[in-house]
């Protein structure tokens, strides 16, 4: 009973958060100077009829929302206008249909552009997360177990240094090194290999992924290691570890059966809190390695002032992070029986 209420509360909160992000996204792009559609419309080379056509197509002739014709500059409008006939409602309706607008640069629907890129980002983040979590936890456990030894101190320093590295800079350095050592210089696949057999293509993608994933792993491993180390140190000082030792369990059994699960709890929280940083890391890595993911899309959209893509990418990233956060929360409640009884 309490478990279902807990789940329901978490899900409701996530839905609310997503709704907040949708609204934020809408107003951000209308209050701040660079209105997406306006920027495109202002192109002096366009004919007046074409501009008008775009305005109608994007619903820019409609008021932004009740009482406001425009938000930048602020222009009051009719409050009695049909709420379904405002830009805000059209925006929401388009979203439910999966329409994020048309890219200024490629003239393709943003949703098409972003969807294929979302998978590339998930591939990169997934591989990087799994590796950094495994490596970070393994080192963290080892450091905590060997607390106050040289092994522990070197692990601690390594973790702090790794944490201090700017992701994009580490990427640049690795790319610089890799390009002189036979690694592909960026992208996801070697151009012109799309007709090659599947295994060849998979191997090619794998080669392209090595350095970005390595960058990701090094940067994120540091924090996981530090958190795991300190969390395990706390757990290993608990009374129940002494009980386990008094029961005659071996060090390995104690670590495996009594310490790890408990020490993993903060890691799950950190993974959830870190999702934002994860995305930040992905943006930088994709920018450096020209990886065709969402982060790369943001990087390109910024440089081309391609606002619909920027808006869509932000929305997609934010919603993904919120959902991933929900999953982390639910995992936590599954791992720790105390959570939903409190």
């Amino acid at each position: 009973m309490s478990r279902y209420r807990f789940l329901l509360k978490k899900i409701a909160w996530s839905v609310f958060t997503i709704f907040f992000v949708l609204i934020l996204n809408f107003f951000l792009f209308r209050v701040l100077p660079g209105d997406p559609a306006r920027a495109g419309v202002k192109d002096p080379r366009m004919k007046k009829e074409a501009v008008e056509a775009i305005r109608v197509r994007f619903g820019l002739d409609k008021p932004v929302i009740n009482c406001f014709q425009s938000l930048n500059p602020i222009e009051l409008g009719d409050c009695a206008v049909n709420p379904f006939d405002t830009q805000f409602f059209i925006y929401l309706r388009n979203l439910t249909r999966g329409e994020f607008g048309i890219s200024f640069h490629t003239n393709r629907p943003v949703s098409d552009v972003l969807l294929e890129r979302l998978w590339n980002t998930i591939l990169l983040i997934g591989a990087g997360q799994i590796l950094s979590i495994i490596v970070g936890i393994a080192f963290g456990v080892f450091a905590a177990w060997k607390a106050r030894t040289t092994i522990d101190y070197s692990a601690l320093i390594t973790g702090l240094v790794a944490w201090s590295l700017p992701t994009f800079w580490l990427g640049i350095i690795l790319l610089f090194w890799g390009s002189n050592n036979g690694f592909p210089i960026g992208g996801k696949a070697t151009p012109g290999t799309s007709s090659y057999p599947f295994l060849y293509q998979a191997g090619d993608v794998f080669k392209h992924m090595l350095l970005p994933t390595l960058t990701y792993t090094i940067v994120f491993m540091g924090e996981y290691m530090l958190v795991m180390r300190s969390s395990l140190l706390d757990v290993l000082a608990e009374d129940y570890i002494l009980t386990a030792k008094a029961k005659g369990l071996s060090t390995f059994q104690i670590l495996k059966d009594h310490a790890l699960k408990n020490a993993m709890l903060p890691i799950v929280t950190i993974i959830a809190i870190n999702l934002g940083f994860t995305v930040a890391g992905a943006i930088q890595i994709e920018a450096v390695f020209s990886w065709p993911g969402l982060g790369g899309a943001i990087f390109e959209a910024v440089n081309r002032r391609d606002y619909p893509v920027l808006q869509g990418a932000f929305l997609l990233i934010a919603v993904s992070v919120i959902i991933a956060n929900l999953i982390a929360d639910l995992t936590y409640s599954y791992l720790d029986p105390r959570v939903h009884s409190e």
Partner: protein, 650 residues
């Protein structure tokens, strides 16, 4: 604590400030971090004087100067425009530090305000603020910053504000929980009781206590802001008129440094970022260690090996304790001259010295003495469960024909629980919170009796639980679903699960209410009679000892004060400490007697008095007592007393 004092009275260079500085000095991490920061701040402040070239001027630059390798004229080479990388690096430090500090200031201000207000006022205000914080926490920072900066004009002020306005969430959470912890402290309540206004309390009582945590957090926030700025600039959203390290990297990366092989243009600015962020990280981590010291010692650290130093002179009174009351039953445990030291940074504290006792089958021995007299240490030494700093300095623990003090860790692990098990003091945390109770009992059985018939294992768990009065259906519950008394019973069931010969019960009933205490004691006593266990019962409760025990060992300051059978201890105690303990305990047969307590406290283990440990508190002490440690004298009927009075009396 030191920092709080520092915040309160900044003008007075009082000892807390000095104390803080002394601890700080010893923390290598913090000092290295501070030095790294001082160096870079120095470079940033004096860039005008230090830089060999002016990065804004194109004077004297020729077309061949692009991406020149490091040379005597340009230590770190030149960049894509032929400018000196070292000079740009020095000026870049300014921009990065300015953005970092100012953005962090905004974040800390907002986060601190939200945190304190939420924590202090509670209720709806807190609910609203923390919900808002959660909301902002879950929205990914960098994409939002990128979007906002891309939509506005990328100048330094905008960047500072955007980073600052989005970076306060962690601060708000940390400050809130610290405020919650602080606001129920006595002096805050007192200030409130005398009618101090809310903002007065916040400014004068809460803020100083929140400050240390805020400072540590501020350091982290600064480093995050610097990283954000460099990332923004690298992505092409930096202020084109203010060349930061990120901007330098953006130019170098976007303008062919890679293909020109100009590693210096890529390495140097990045090195600056790493230097500052690492300096801040080291300082932050170090400060946290200073403000919030942790032992970082745990139960799996390898213990110190048994030393077996030669017993020295007077302190070596070896005892051959002859079984008195229960001669007929066989000897189980024979502890001889056991000494335990705690060694911390070369300082040796003698926690237990030369303690000897014997335990027979079915015997219940009481181990009494005030807190800090070495009772628990002695018990832990028997099972070789001493913390990492503890070592058996001397002595033997004979059990089953072997000396436990000399066994390897593996041999010891096999023997624990099967031979000797222990019920810990305060079992609140002695059970693993994420595993079911039944599971934790089952684990002990399958460890020591590996080929236990699997079908009957479950029955055994139920049987054990029922033995201590817990219904079988609670088997699959988690410890947090149990009450304190039930947890203590589970500990007892667990301690009995492998049919041990000896059970050590280390104050098994402290922190439980009287009814439960009585039940648990009765349970232990019944089990002893039913199963023929030998029990060592560690307690403060002399009533329980009188009622249940066969023999009593009184410890004081790590040594045996008196050791005899229970009747002797109660009716003819010879050690003044035993006598005083008994006076402090109500006796129903003499209701008119006044209860007296012993003034003072037991000695600290690192400041043991030179003579008798009890001399400073002893009402019968005379000159010799404060000079010479008394021997352990054996009187008739295996009655052992360590007191000079006994010698004089004979």
């Amino acid at each position: 604590m030191a920092v709080q004092e520092l915040e309160l009275k900044p003008a007075v260079p009082s000892s807390p400030l000095l104390g803080f500085w002394n601890t700080f000095k010893k923390n290598r991490m913090a000092v290295v971090g501070l030095v790294m920061l001082v160096v870079i701040v120095f470079i940033a402040v004096f860039a005008d004087a230090l830089a060999p070239y002016d990065p804004k001027s194109y004077e004297g630059i020729q077309s061949g100067d692009v991406y020149n390798a490091p040379s005597a004229a340009h230590w770190f080479g030149t960049d894509d425009a032929g400018k000196d990388v070292l000079s740009s690096f020095m000026y870049g430090a300014r921009i990065s530090l300015i953005v970092g500090f100012f953005a962090a200031f905004i974040s800390i201000f907002i986060g601190g305000l939200f945190g304190i207000v939420a924590g202090f006022f509670g209720g709806r205000v807190e609910n609203f603020l923390m919900r808002f914080t959660d909301l902002m926490l879950v929205i990914p920072d960098l994409p939002l910053i990128v979007v906002i900066v891309a939509l506005t004009r990328p100048n330094l002020l905008n960047i500072i504000f955007v980073i600052g306005l989005l970076g306060w969430t962690t601060t708000a959470r940390i400050v809130r929980s610290q405020t919650l912890a602080v606001k129920s402290r006595k002096f805050v309540l007192r200030a409130r009781a005398i009618g101090a206004g809310n903002w007065h309390i916040i400014a004068n009582h809460i803020l100083p206590l929140v400050m240390p945590i805020l400072v540590v957090n501020a350091i982290l926030v600064i480093s995050l802001a610097i990283l954000s700025e460099s990332t923004l600039s690298f992505l092409g959203l930096g202020d084109p008129t203010a060349i930061s390290w990120g901007q330098m990297l953006n130019f170098a990366f976007g303008r062919g440094a890679m293909s020109a092989g100009a590693w210096w243009a890529l390495v140097v600015p990045g090195f600056g970022i790493v230097w500052v962020v690492l300096g801040l990280t080291l300082l932050g981590n170090g400060l946290e260690q200073v403000l919030n010291p942790r032992l970082e010692a745990h139960h799996l650290m390898p213990g110190r090996p048994t030393v077996q130093t030669e017993p020295v002179g007077d302190e070596s009174a070896s005892v051959e304790h002859k079984p008195t009351k229960r001669k007929e039953s066989p000897l189980l445990l024979d502890v001889r001259n056991l000494s335990v030291n705690y060694v911390n940074e070369g300082v040796v504290a003698k926690a237990v010295q030369n303690v000897s006792f014997q335990l027979h089958e079915g015997e219940l021995m009481g181990l009494v003495g005030e807190s800090g007299c070495g009772k628990t240490t002695l018990m832990m030494a028997l099972l070789r469960l001493l913390p990492a700093a503890g070592e058996i300095a001397n002595g033997h623990v004979y059990y089953g024909g072997r000396d436990l003090a000399m066994l390897t860790e593996e041999e010891m692990a096999d023997l624990r629980w099967k031979g000797i098990s222990i019920i810990f003091q305060g079992a609140m945390n002695a059970l693993n919170p994420v595993r079911t109770v039944g599971d934790q009992i089952r684990e002990a059985i399958s460890k020591h009796i590996p080929n236990y018939p699997p079908g009957t294992l479950e029955e055994r768990v139920v049987e054990l639980l029922e033995l201590v009065g817990i219904a079988a259906e609670h088997k699959d519950h988690f410890p947090h679903q149990y009450s304190g008394g039930m947890r203590q019973r589970v500990m007892i069931a667990m301690a009995l699960s492998c049919n041990p010969q000896i059970v050590i019960a280390d104050e098994p009933t402290t922190a439980l209410d009287v009814m439960i205490q009585a039940q648990i004691l009765e349970l232990l006593d019944n089990l002893r009679r039913k199963l023929g266990l030998a029990i060592i019962f560690v307690t403060h409760d002399l009533g329980v000892v009188a009622e249940m025990c066969d023999s009593v060992l009184v410890m004081y300051g790590g040594v045996t004060a008196e050791y005899a059978d229970v009747d002797t201890i109660y009716n003819a105690p010879l050690h003044p400490y035993t006598q005083e303990l008994l006076k402090a305990f109500p006796d129903l047969s003499k209701p008119e007697r006044k209860l007296t307590s012993i003034p003072g406290y037991p000695p600290k283990l690192n400041e043991l008095p030179p003579g008798c440990r009890f001399a400073p508190r002893c009402p019968q002490a005379f000159a010799r007592c404060s000079v010479e440690l008394p021997k352990l004298h054996e009187l008739a009927d295996a009655h052992f007393v360590s007191c000079h009075l006994v010698e004089n009396g004979k």
